[in-house]
């Protein structure tokens, strides 16, 4: 690994910044972001606000009016690959990101037909071959600026760089190498701004990358701290009070002791999902992913702290708690999934600050986010079978050996499959209804381990994976691979649930209009009644969806936007034209019918009631003939 990170810093003494210094007293960035997020004109981060609840108070589009939702305008990114995450909207502009080559575009919401600026980084083309599961990117982050410096847009690049772009001009202010592509480390996560720090995760566990989260100074790119998922405590950054409230989760020395020898050095535990932040507790939350190497027989032990829910101090990186959901993972249940924050009364009627995390392993966990207490752990679907239950007192999953992946055992119908019942989708929480709106994969798998000896002491341990719809799907026709559900974390009940043809891969958005929006792999954006699940509206997009919807107001009108562009893990067969059903760890077989419904694409589609918007006045954005009057 590189010792001295490369920094390229361009001087940016803009006149604007100087002017700002006189008008505004410095406001902490997170306070400014909280304020910006309160204004429905903005969607300042991938989860809308620090709660990562993807919930909007907007009501113009509601159960009655949603039928009138029509496209207002659209934008093509020019990239035909999986488009994850959402665009950001801040101060009248939309910032749009793309998968590799990770171009960023800014458009003015008044006239989005003209690109204000675009920034396409130069990247090592090898990044494409290193990425495991399509060349996706999950989004951008916005820093509002202060007295010294103007606003910035942060972008991660597949080749492992994090870059700060001037939000006004698109100029690259600095670029840092967060992960070395030459070591197989890529970057697909959306960066995350807290105060004057930008947080970035890491990808590449499949190649043995040891996962970490890093904080950089927003203005200079200087590294402030880096916290690993495995290894010695001082490198994992464990606070003195780490897991004090729940010592049975494990406390010190486990990042090395739960591994054989030095295996923690290549132990995985990257984080490429989503962050959430509690400005009062000063903690941010995220999940670390699967241990490496992939084959569990090669890494005896619990493999801490992979597969954990983390609460860390944003300023220091010190962990207050970590809860390992799947000790010694055998299924590739990488738990990087979204953390949604809510404040609710628990079963005893006590108001608590909670975080809710629909994990890849099929369990949806709710923790007290101040100390890590496990409040509930429910199966997202009753077909989850690798685990009988999660004991709330010990935090441990009670496994069913029938659905384990041990060497001498051909396991049939393990639910969920390696893709999880919930993957990277960014879901939502409706605080009015106290419901989490979950987009779910309904996929199970057969797992046939094999050990192939070869000559001279060589051998290879692997498994043949086949994936197919879960028991509630149509296994004969290989459809019925997804579900939509509305979950109450306190009662553990599903208010409603419906089946979908394919996985709901991208996530959901809930609104005070009583609607839950989401996109489907076969290319629809849909709106359901949040109370009943009834399908109220849908629209066919040019390509399948793996991102999540967002909404904003502009000049008093509510818009709903979503990326289209099929790809990601479910799309690898389609995107790379693979035929072997066991390829993509079985994804190719599971999604073999996807190509009958959609093809590649890439862009943003923006909707409003009756399609009203910037171009309702057809003169907007028209070519103006200079000197026309003189000619007349």
């Amino acid at each position: 690994m590189r010792d001295t990170p490369r920094i390229s810093l361009k001087a940016s003494a803009s006149a604007l910044a100087v002017v700002l210094a006189f008008v505004a007293a410095p406001v902490k960035a997170n306070e400014a972001l909280v304020d910006l997020a309160k204004n429905t004109d903005n969607w300042v981060m991938t989860g809308r606000d620090y709660d990562a609840a993807n919930y909007s108070t907007l009501t113009e589009v509601n159960k009655e009016t949603v039928r009138r939702l029509r496209p207002a305008w659209s934008f093509s990114t020019g990239v035909l690959h999986g488009h994850e995450g959402t665009p950001l909207v801040v101060n009248g502009r939309m910032y749009i990101h793309s998968p590799f080559p990770n171009t960023v575009f800014a458009v003015d919401l008044k006239d989005p037909g003209k690109i204000l600026w675009q920034n396409k980084p130069r990247q090592m083309p090898t990044a494409r071959t290193v990425a495991c599961c399509d060349v996706v990117n999950r989004g951008l982050a916005y820093w509002p600026g202060d007295g010294e410096s103007g606003a910035l847009i942060f972008r991660t690049q597949l080749d492992g760089h994090i870059a700060a772009l001037d939000a006004d001009t698109g100029e690259t202010r600095w670029s840092m190498e967060n992960a070395d592509i030459r070591v197989g480390a890529t970057l697909t996560i959306a960066p995350y701004v807290i105060d004057d720090l930008v947080l970035v995760g890491s990808s590449g566990a499949e190649l043995g990358v040891r996962g970490y989260v890093t904080a950089y100074d927003v203005k200079t790119g200087e590294q402030k701290w880096r916290a690993f998922a495995t290894g010695p405590d001082e490198e994992i950054l464990l606070g003195e009070d780490f897991n004090l409230a729940n010592p049975h989760y494990g406390r010190f020395g486990l990042g090395t002791r739960t591994w054989e020898g030095d295996a923690w050095k290549i132990g995985g535990g990257t984080n490429w999902g989503w962050y959430a932040y509690d400005p009062t507790e000063k903690l941010f939350y995220y999940g670390s992913g699967n241990p490496a190497p992939w084959n569990e027989t090669m890494r005896p032990g619990d493999n801490k702290w992979t597969m954990a829910i983390w609460g860390r101090d944003a300023q220091t990186g010190q962990a207050r708690f970590a809860y390992q959901k799947t000790p010694h993972d055998e299924w590739d249940y990488a738990g990087v999934n979204v953390m949604m924050l809510s404040e609710q009364e628990d079963k005893e009627g006590k108001m608590r600050k909670l975080l809710t995390h629909p994990d890849r392993n099929g369990i949806i966990y709710t923790l007290d986010r101040t100390n890590g207490d496990l409040v509930s752990a429910d199966k997202m679907d009753d077909t989850v079978n690798w685990v009988k239950e999660v004991q709330l007192d010990t935090g441990l999953p009670v496994r069913d050996p029938e659905f384990g992946t041990r060497m001498d055992h051909m396991a049939r119908d393990i639910c969920p499959s390696a893709m999880g019942y919930h993957n990277q989708g960014h879901d939502s929480y409706d605080p009015e209804r106290k419901l989490f709106m979950l987009g779910i994969n309904h996929i199970c798998m057969d797992w046939e381990p094999f050990m192939l000896p070869y000559r001279a002491g060589q051998f290879f341990v692997g498994a043949t994976l086949s994936m197919y719809p879960g028991p509630k799907g149509d296994r004969q026709n290989n459809l019925g691979l997804g579900q939509m559900k509305a979950y109450n974390a306190i009662t553990g009940e599903m208010k409603w649930e419906v089946m979908e043809r394919f996985s709901v891969w991208g996530g959901t958005m809930a609104t005070a209009g009583g609607l839950t929006f989401y996109g489907t792999l076969d290319g629809f954006i849909k709106a359901r009644d949040s109370d009943t699940g009834e399908l109220l509206w849908k629209h066919k997009l040019p390509s399948g969806v793996i991102g999540h919807p967002m909404t904003y107001t502009h000049e008093g009108r509510q818009y709903v936007a979503i990326y289209y562009g099929v790809g990601g893990w479910p799309g690898v067969g389609l995107v790379f034209d693979l035929a072997d059903p066991t390829a993509g760890l079985g994804s190719v077989g599971a999604f073999r019918r996807l190509a009958e419904y959609t093809q590649m694409g890439g862009g943003v589609m923006v909707f409003s009631l009756d399609g009203e918007g910037p171009y309702s006045d057809p003169s907007v954005g028209e070519y103006e003939v200079i000197g026309a009057a003189e000619k007349l």
Binding site: T126, V183, E206, G261, K265, W294, Y454
Partner: protein, 283 residues
């Protein structure tokens, strides 16, 4: 005039066959007693390559001729590690030319040569190690090897494995190794040493011999003289006897192979010698 038939079985057919045993039986044919069906890989240089090249395919031709059989070389378009599962067990062929003498999946002939893991170094480095522990030397940091071999164990037991992991990934273009057989070509292990990118190569000598022989930079190949004892007491041998493997379904072939190994001994030794394979006395 050698009587050789060459058939190519694509990997796609094999993948389909792996999922459906019934199909594999359709693929299998009734064996012709006058034909020696040998499975060989298209990607196993220097043993076997596309178009039937490779020193083991030369040995196959010798054995067939000595046994008075027509050679049917069944080229499996996949890595050699799959030859037993996807070739012999599927009834596509009856023999493999190079297997460990103790491979329990096959009937094995009397060993016809013995070799071992070896260090490959540039002659100008003056490396004189010959025990596996000798990788732990001042100035020796980067080691080229092939995945899934005891060479990895050697690095683990000398504390050099993690440091080299990234380098090894680069030798296989960072290909995703999740549940996937990924391999570093033997020729690359040798050329990395020749170019000075690696301080030392660790490889099963028959796999590196040809490239050492042909290297423009003078290289030295040293057989490792001791075995490796794991912390759990298990001995990992670093020297292996090689036999011809015969399908358990075709036991009548074994005596013919044994006889051919005897009558063709000199010709086989000549092939190994030309290849540059260092051999050890058979026990």
């Amino acid at each position: 005039m050698k009587r050789i038939a060459l058939r190519l079985i694509p990997a796609v057919v094999l993948a389909a066959a792996a999922g459906a045993p019934a199909l594999a039986e359709e693929v299998a044919e009734t064996p012709d007693p006058n034909v020696l069906r040998v499975c060989a890989s298209t990607r196993d240089a220097p043993y076997s390559e596309r178009n039937g090249q490779g020193f083991e395919n030369k040995i196959a031709a010798v054995l067939a001729e000595e046994a008075g059989l027509k050679l049917d070389l069944v080229m499996i378009d996949n890595d050699a590690i799959y030859l037993v599962r996807d070739g012999v067990d599927k009834g596509l062929c009856d023999a493999l030319i190079g297997v460990d003498s103790e491979d329990p999946r096959l009937l094995t002939s009397t060993p016809y040569y013995k070799s071992g893991y070896a260090f490959i170094s540039r002659e100008d480095r003056g490396f004189d190690g010959e025990k596996w522990q000798d990788v732990d030397r001042e100035g020796y940091e980067t080691f080229a090897l092939r995945y899934h071999t005891p060479a990895e164990t050697i690095l683990k037991y000398t504390g050099r494995y993690e440091y080299n992991l990234i380098y090894h990934s680069s030798l296989s273009n960072f290909e995703d190794r999740r549940n996937k057989y990924t391999q570093i070509p033997a020729s690359l292990v040798v050329s990395e040493v020749a170019q000075g990118n690696a301080d030392l190569g660790i490889i099963f000598a028959p796999e590196g011999a040809r490239y050492v022989r042909d290297s423009r930079t003078p290289l030295k190949l040293t057989l490792i003289s001791n075995d490796l004892e794991r912390s759990d007491g298990l001995i990992i041998p670093l020297r292996y006897e090689q036999s011809v493997g015969v399908s358990r379904a075709r036991p009548e072939l074994l005596p013919k192979i044994e006889a051919a190994l005897v009558s063709g001994k000199a010709r086989i030794e000549a092939i190994l010698q030309e290849e540059g394979v260092p051999t050890l006395p058979l026990s």
